[in-house]
Symmetry: C2
Subunit: 326 residues, 2 copies
């Protein structure tokens, strides 16, 4: 094959994961109507996506089920209300946060579950617990991924050590996660290569999960793909915490694998996502630009955007406050 | 100097051009209040930007001055109302479109003008006229740049030929212009290198002017910068035709030259740009995603977004229509 315009070819091994409901639920306590969750599920199937992450496996001791919708917990019953026995080619994932999941009891043996993949999310200081969770889920029969969060504020020796440890686990994928939407292209390059190097020879794939604080989620995802990432996260209309994620409709437009279909995604956007947007705000508005630029957690930006007062659009005061806290 | 994290250093020779009023005027027939134009000008000065493109030099025979605001024509008098004698370090530019500018008469000798730079915008088939305009402006005493538009639909031999011709002119900068917001990172790479190669040895700089149809304007600008582009266009809050341009507030956050200051830009956004946004829409909404993806002119997307009926958000019908026209 010629190498003249590789961007019009594709890698069959590249797989796309939709995490609209899981990540988007951070904006509305997972209070989605079931018809929205079902519409996202059916769109993923029609669009030929590889996987849908439907929600969290959150401990009921740590989150009040009266305050949160069902996909904060993703019980088997709640999932089956949406997907039945999921007789489709779409695989299903849930996210289990280290320290926030009663995984010994709440993650069922695979033969009792319609879930295919458990994604263990961990901060770098929780790696030993994450490793235990990875083994637990793997022994129960699941494919397991690991997302190390907030790596833009992690020191490199810590990250290197975490990757060395994860390399010895049965996790099949380790995901580069830009939790704060702080990374520029060259930093994505650096980290993807670091992950690839640490996982070399293990057969594990590197994934990418980008946030859109600086309008770079899609671009950084492209960059990771160019470098060989074969597991790619995106969400419908970019719905996700704060600034949101890589937009699925952009990603599928970029990918060339003919199994992907973009038209059902546009249909979902106009039928469901626009209505969600009327109810809640996400996307790269200025306060998220600022938190991304300063490599800070988006919680302060989320608070200012939730305000009904004039501070909502007082970008300068927000910037001054963030800078004084650095 | 170490090469370990070059992204935290900077190139002093990199210069930033604001084209908020010039490109944004394509959304409102340049009907800006003078206080907005003045606020953008003062912000450019305070932010330490290098250049502001204030408007077009449009022929009055081709555009009715009753229909358009003053910066469609950018008379000396209109400009001086904003900038006086411009006793600042900010240089001023105007854009002159090939075939739409009475340049022989409307571009005054430099000694009668507060303008520093004339940017000649041309389609590839108008290169002979553009060359005449470049010589005219240069002989009148201006620095001259050349923007070749819509290059994502130009055949490579034509583009090569155009660059060969421009290499012999007194233009000091040739700008890579992604008019349709269609280019992905690898294509930006390809084109920037093509321009650099064609202009090698002439001392000319390569510039970048990106559109945001696929949320890639900022990322593609970063890419061009990494490759050595030293003339960079951006606009306040991304204001520009259709999906808009590279956001100045993001770009200045990314650049490391201490002469740039981001705080005045946030101030402009909250004091002026938010109000403009209430009156007109720009940014990467779905119809612009589609026109960018399909490498089409944004005029159809602009028409559908200007609609007050249900077709405004009927993304599927718009997509079907655009695909049928390919």
């Amino acid at each position: 094959m010629t190498d003249r315009a590789p961007w019009i070819t594709y890698r069959p091994e590249l797989k796309v994961l939709d995490c609209t409901i899981r990540d988007g639920g951070l904006m509305n306590n997972h209070q989605f109507d079931n018809d929205v969750v079902k519409a996202v599920y059916e769109t993923c199937v029609e669009a030929g996506l590889d996987m849908m992450e439907i929600g969290y496996k959150m401990s009921r001791k740590q989150a009040d089920p009266k305050k949160f919708g069902p996909f904060k917990f993703s019980d088997e019953e709640s999932i089956r209300k949406i997907v039945g026995d999921n007789k489709t080619s779409l695989r299903l994932a849930v996210m289990a946060d280290a320290g926030k999941c009663d995984y010994e009891t709440d993650i069922l043996p695979k033969e009792q579950s319609v879930i295919d993949v458990v994604r263990v999310a961990t901060y770098v200081n929780q790696i030993p617990m994450a490793v235990d969770m990875i083994h637990d889920a793997h022994e129960k029969g699941y494919e397991v991924w690991c997302n190390i969060m907030a790596i833009s504020i992690v020191q490199e020796p810590d990250l290197q050590q975490a990757l060395e440890v994860l390399a010895t686990t049965p996790a099949s994928v380790v995901v580069v996660v830009d939790s704060f939407g702080a990374l520029y292209r060259e930093q994505v390059d650096y980290l993807v290569k670091l992950y690839q190097s640490a996982l070399k020879g293990t057969g594990k794939e590197v994934g990418i999960h980008a946030h859109n604080n600086q309008q770079l989620a899609f671009a950084n995802t492209i960059e990771a793909i160019i470098l060989g990432c074969n597991r790619v996260d995106a969400t419908m209309m970019g719905l996700g915490r704060g600034a949101g994620n890589c937009n699925m409709e952009l990603l599928i437009g970029f990918l060339r694998n003919p199994k992907f279909r973009i038209r059902p995604i546009y249909k979902l956007l106009q039928d469901h996502m626009l209505k969600l947007r009327e109810k809640m705000e996400w996307g790269p508005v200025v306060p998220y630009n600022i938190s991304g630029l300063l490599n800070q957690h988006p919680r302060a930006a989320m608070a200012v955007r939730a305000s009904t007062g004039p501070d909502k659009d007082d970008f300068v005061s927000f910037y001054d406050k963030c800078v004084s806290e650095v």
